[in-house]
Symmetry: C2
Subunit: 226 residues, 2 copies
């Protein structure tokens, strides 16, 4: 009985890793859709988000079921509760990729990204992919050191986010209000995506160490930075 339970925990962990894979793929494709004004790709990202929603519901059902049937304590209890929170983060990351894809769809056949911000947005997409892939590794390996490392990717995302605001507010923006609104929202979606990846990693740290270190208590979402 106990073995079946731990198998179920391992399966949960695998499914969380699969969710990081799906969220990463969604954001990577959303970025391409945004930069290339690729409507079918944007539509496919929007449609695919359903799968992440479904996985979260399934993981929630499994978690509640394990709590009720197995009456876990200590580490097992923390693994289950933390898993529920991580799946909520990952589901939300899928939403954010969908939001980026919706901006691409709304502005089609134009691209929502002005030429001078293409490199920045491309990098935001790359950092998003990298940070969620690392979150997946952290889940798979319980690697606390890697979790801490991933905060550097988040710093990089913040730096890119500041670049977006510099372009907007530097005084030479000549793409109009609609483009400014879109890029403001897009910047925020990427930055929140990274925040949630950091949150996933911090939850693994909590799981392993059993403590919220002061630095891990609260994932501050970056406000507009300048």
């Amino acid at each position: 009985m106990r073995d079946a339970f731990h198998e179920e925990l391992a399966r949960t962990s695998e499914q969380l890793v699969e969710m990081t894979r799906l969220a990463g793929s969604a954001m990577a494709r959303a970025t391409t859709a945004l930069l290339d004004a690729d409507l079918p790709l944007a539509e496919s990202v929007i449609a695919a988000d359903e799968e992440l929603d479904r996985m979260q519901r399934e993981l929630d059902d499994t978690a509640l079921d394990m709590l009720a049937r197995q009456q876990p304590v200590a580490t097992d209890l923390r693994i289950i509760v933390t898993g529920m929170r991580m799946s909520a983060d990952l589901e939300r990351m899928g939403d954010l990729a969908r939001h980026v894809a919706k901006v691409a769809r709304r502005r089609y056949p134009e691209s929502a990204v002005p030429p001078e911000l293409r490199a920045t947005v491309l990098q935001m997409g790359q950092v998003a992919e990298r940070i969620v892939a690392k979150a997946g590794s952290v889940i798979a390996s319980n690697d606390v050191a890697a979790a801490v490392q991933l905060e550097q990717d988040d710093d990089e995302m913040d730096r890119l986010h500041r670049q977006v605001f510099s372009a907007l507010l530097g005084g030479s923006w000549d793409h109009g209000i609609e483009a400014a609104v879109d890029i403001t929202l897009v910047g925020r979606y990427y930055e929140r995506f990274a925040d949630h990846a950091v949150s996933v990693a911090r939850r693994v740290v909590y799981l392993v160490t059993g403590e919220w270190h002061e630095a891990y208590v609260h994932v501050p979402s970056q406000d507009r930075t300048p």
Copy 2:
């Protein structure tokens, strides 16, 4: 023993209601700070968010403790898990009020809200206050009908959010890019605040009915609406 447990559940519910009160007060004061360019008020909102963070951590500790000690099943289990999720929503609502206050602080001594949007932002603040107060009533009374009603406030928030975009994109915006960026972010913060209030209410419905109705499965966050 069992009685002490149910007293603890009742105390959790009271603390969640208190969190709705704090989140509502924070957003109301943030709205005033934003409209009146009131720096001390903005600072007080930013500082007060710490209390919501603390309450969430405390509720989380209590919840984990109850799960470990009481090994609850069925309804009790669902109450505890749902409470953890509601406190996460409410903590996030506090963050969003803090974000609004930070916009007020950044633009001080100017107001970030142009004259023609003052009425709209004032109403967004009022709807935010109303929706979180209703979420508090729903938690206190387990009133499913009220939970459904509260969705209408969310529709009202979406309508106001569309007004913001109409003002931005109607072609007569003459407040420059910085104001456009700020109001884009502010609009999103209010709308997300309402989304989380809806989420809290839906969780109560789940608690009472034990089912995620199709309409309750997923709280879609409004993308930019036009």
